[in-house]
Symmetry: C2
Subunit: 417 residues, 2 copies
């Protein structure tokens, strides 16, 4: 501790306050635009990443919540262990174990939503200026979580043909990927590329995050193996808990409902221990009530029972969105129809497009999308838009696309030719 | 963004992992001792700061939880606004407003427990090495929350005769106080000293935290005015929301139950806006379910109805503890009987005492207390112990004190003479 001398104090009452921390100085016009858009009546919001509330099993959850308090008052109402309720950690360990991936509660920490997992990983791995190798474009929330530690970013592109996984990871504090339906692109990292990333993580020792909020949202085809399972297969199977470099992140938000703020991180015990120290100073522990609800819901298979309805709803909305896009946006954008997740990523054919500017036009036309700049650590990628298809019904999505087409036409007329 | 070149990768598989962030290198033997103590059967734990679970109104809370889901599914199950549910922010604003303190929802952010408030304040006010003027000894959780930002600390002593509030605050990013029954000392900051602190905060512009988890736990006499209310009185009353430098922190953990992880920060709108940006990257939002429960509980006056029983329970336990201490510990320690809160702070009469070492002896004797070192940013203050009286029944407290006396006798025999 350094005991410093007090500075001179001005005698007048009108004094300046201490400055905010420097990371807060980074302004974000897009967030302000979104906030303003939220207040405009009739706005069609295809910008967010929200689930459809109609899919929540409300009456079952009300019963589970009451039971959590009345049957387990000590778990639900007390402070919990920092790492989470032992029974829930066991449940998660069991859920993700495979023949070659041996997980125990030592491999699991429960977090206050998936977002907190990102914050805690940054907290334990980043000193100021630390290097992150991040799948690009990168989930906005991950950039938000890590920004206060002023990291450096290396953009990596696992979906490109010439991707070299070792070159991508070497020298970084950690790598960051969303293999299932990346936010924002909706793309899947294929099996061969998953194996290359896992091998590179083993070879370089660099921690590799597998952020998987959308892993159950497969609309066509079957889920691919998780990278942490591939990692388990590569390690000598000794019967001891998983000790590899993969860091898997899951959440109840997309499987059940976001309001419980329950997520989990699965990793080597030394990483779980570090995250536990970090979590103690962040929020002490996650809500015991919500952990009890999660445990009960998982035990009675509620997410699995809710899933078919969720998949049907989102699949038909995705189809409706893509159909409307084909009809109205083909002239200016190209995209792939995603096989899962919550988003379509549309890239302008003309590289001169600036979708930050297009957004202003879109808001005037009554539709709000997310521009590509927010998924880039420097905000310089301006050629694409992210469109969500889970929150709005099909007819509203179609109307949103029509408005976007109107906005694009106006934008092009004024800015491109 | 700097795009860096990959470093050389060793060809063997046995590679070192990237190092953890430097703040994690600070080892903490005491925490490890506590963890070990938790597993010893028959151990009497007077170390923690936990409420008595028998005081929780379980059946009412079970009903409120079910109602929160079934009657307000959108609030309870969706993502919430980052700052919290508007109705709950209004409720808190109303609860703390006085004739001279005008609060609106712009003055309030809901946090995931009081602990998150400390983390977020550090996040928005501290660059690495930033200076904190902290009431000493300092709440362990605040030190934990701020440690990752590697701050400097100025120890301040508002309960000393020669305390100069302006000198204490000037030049710091913020001041930190627990005016009601400080953790760990259990002491109250008197009215005159509160006014001096408020005046100094106004005069220097330095933000001043009033951390108030124990504000309702008055066992003798009446509560003193909050510093934020004194600050409101000092400002020109213009009808606009409070805009002074006080940052008030409250929590539901001691008024109702900790398992909901609901806290709140009340401050000037510009501070609430900064905390909101910080919270977005920490956990996105607090649990909607828990905020709905908090709102319902506050609306129906549940904390106020639960309070008399809590006060009776804790008052009689405090008395039992102090009586046992008078009988068994007077030879070695002195203390003041606290008029509220959860702790007695006992200082060894002999300055050569090292309570870190005494703790080892105490664990052997079957009792676990908190040594003073953990309440000091440098861990060098070794002369005192913190004893909790809220969790254990009176007879158990008396037995714990007897064991502590046995341990002290053995410690003194071996170490002091």
């Amino acid at each position: 501790m350094t005991v410093t001398k007090p500075m001179d104090v001005p005698e007048n009452g009108d004094v300046a306050r201490p400055e905010f921390a420097s990371w807060l100085g980074v302004s974000n016009d897009i967030t302000r635009m979104f906030l303003a858009a939220g207040g405009i009546p009739g706005m069609i919001n295809i910008a967010g990443g929200l689930p459809e509330p109609e899919t929540y099993p409300v009456s079952e959850l009300a019963e589970i919540a009451a039971r959590a308090v009345s049957e387990h008052p000590r778990d639900a109402l007390n402070y919990s262990p920092i790492e989470g309720l032992p029974d829930l950690r066991d449940r998660i360990a069991k859920r993700y174990s495979t023949a070659s991936l041996h997980l125990t509660r030592q491999n699991v920490i429960i977090t206050s939503g998936g977002m907190q997992g990102l914050d805690l990983i940054g907290k334990v791995l980043l000193d100021q200026g630390g290097l992150i190798a991040a799948q690009s474009p990168t989930y906005l929330g991950a950039l938000d979580a890590w920004r206060p530690r002023l990291p450096r970013f290396r953009r990596i592109y696992p979906d490109r043909q010439d991707f070299d996984a070792v070159e991508a990871l070497a020298g970084a504090q950690f790598g960051y990927t969303v293999p299932n339906f990346s936010n924002p692109t909706g793309r899947l990292i294929g099996l061969a590329r998953r194996q290359e990333l896992v091998d590179a993580s083993h070879r370089t020792g660099v921690w590799l995050i597998e952020d998987d909020p959308y892993g159950t949202l497969f609309y066509d085809g079957e889920p691919l193996p998780r990278m942490i399972a591939l990692s388990g297969s590569s390690l000598a199977s000794s019967g001891s808990p998983y000790d590899g470099p993969l860091i898997y992140m899951g959440t109840l938000s997309k499987e059940l409902a976001p309001g419980f703020r329950i997520g989990w991180v699965i990793a080597a015990p030394e990483m779980i221990q570090a995250l536990t120290i970090a979590k103690q100073g962040s929020d002490m522990c996650t809500s015991g009530l919500n952990m009890r609800i999660a445990l009960d819901a998982l035990d009675c298979g509620l997410p699995e029972r809710a899933l078919p309805r969720i998949l049907d709803t989102y699949r038909s909305r995705r189809d409706a969105l893509c159909e409307a896009m084909s009809e109205h946006l083909t002239e200016w954008f190209e995209w792939e129809k995603p096989v899962g997740g919550m988003f379509v990523w549309a890239v302008a054919r003309d590289p001169r497009f600036d979708t930050d500017k297009l957004l202003q036009e879109a808001l005037r036309a009554g539709v709000c999308f997310t521009p590509s700049s927010v998924f880039d650590p420097e905000g310089t990628t301006r050629q694409a838009v992210r469109i969500n298809f889970t929150l709005n019904a099909s007819d509203k999505l179609a109307e949103g696309v029509k408005r976007l087409a109107t906005a694009t036409k106006a934008y092009v007329a004024e800015n491109i030719r």
